[in-house]
């Protein structure tokens, strides 16, 4: 959960340690990719929806 929070809010502060901690906890490379894609996709979705709402004039 700490990794999700970091990648969502402060992606510029990520370091190799963060990924190493996940691997040390037994998360496989494949699952790290899937988790990262999900976090990044939600960040995409939030911005797309915010922009669509503005274009629709709801804001």
């Amino acid at each position: 959960m700490r990794h999700v929070d970091l990648a969502t809010r402060e992606p510029r502060t990520a370091t190799p340690t963060h990924v190493a901690e996940l691997q040390a906890a037994g998360v496989t490379p494949r699952d790290i990719v899937t988790i990262s894609q999900l976090i990044a996709f939600v960040s995409y979705q939030v911005r797309l929806l915010a922009g669509l709402r503005l274009l629709g004039g709801a804001a």
Binding site: Q37, F41, Y44, R47, A59
Partner: protein, 194 residues
């Protein structure tokens, strides 16, 4: 943090993964197909050779990415590149900023605009049209709700159509995605290529 500390540059960069990539020799036919569909250099790119571990997700991401960045009509290629450089500057992705800054410079012959965004930040002086594009991109990147009706109104005032604003929104949103993958799964290094 200054631009130089974060490594923002118009020089080409390479990217190294913090998680083990697959070896191309071990890739399934499905993985090869998705790599080839993603981008011409994917089969030698650590970024793609890592992401292809989840092949279904990469297929969807790449189709969407290529539509958002290269679809004909709508916002010009250069303006899409500008928006993604602004997003990458905010998110601290020097690799993404270099790739897309170079593309902007190739399209416009104005590398100095990107260099100023790197050196001085996203508030550097720009013409009114680019100012409106960068302002909207920065706000949507930082705190999506703050892009606001005023940001969209500013884009309309400088002549962007609804379709162009939609393209801009897609490009900025796509880089919330791309920057996070690049920044959390690896790091840029000086290019080994000549």
């Amino acid at each position: 943090m200054s631009a130089s500390e974060q490594g923002f540059t118009l020089a080409p960069l390479d990217w190294v993964a913090w998680v083990e990539t697959i070896a191309l020799a071990d890739a399934t036919p499905e993985q090869i197909a998705v790599l080839e569909e993603s981008t011409p250099t994917a089969k030698t790119s650590p970024y793609y050779l890592l992401l292809v571990r989840d092949v279904a997700v990469l297929r969807e991401r790449s189709r969407l990415f290529n539509s958002v960045m290269y679809a004909p009509k709508g916002l010009s290629r250069a303006d899409r590149e500008l928006a993604t450089v602004a997003a990458s500057r905010i998110n601290g992705c020097a690799y993404c900023a270099s790739v897309h800054g170079i593309r902007f410079a190739q399209l416009t012959k104005q590398p100095e605009i990107i260099q100023r965004i790197f050196d001085e930040g996203v508030d550097t002086e720009l013409d009114a049209r680019r100012r409106a594009i960068v302002d909207y991109s920065v706000k949507l990147t930082q705190v999506p709700p703050e892009a606001g009706a005023e940001g969209v109104a500013a884009l309309r005032r400088v002549g962007l159509s609804e379709l162009e604003i939609l393209d801009l929104t897609h490009a900025v949103a796509m880089f919330a995605w791309a920057n996070r993958l690049m920044r959390t799964l690896g790091a840029p290094v000086a290019s080994a290529k000549p």
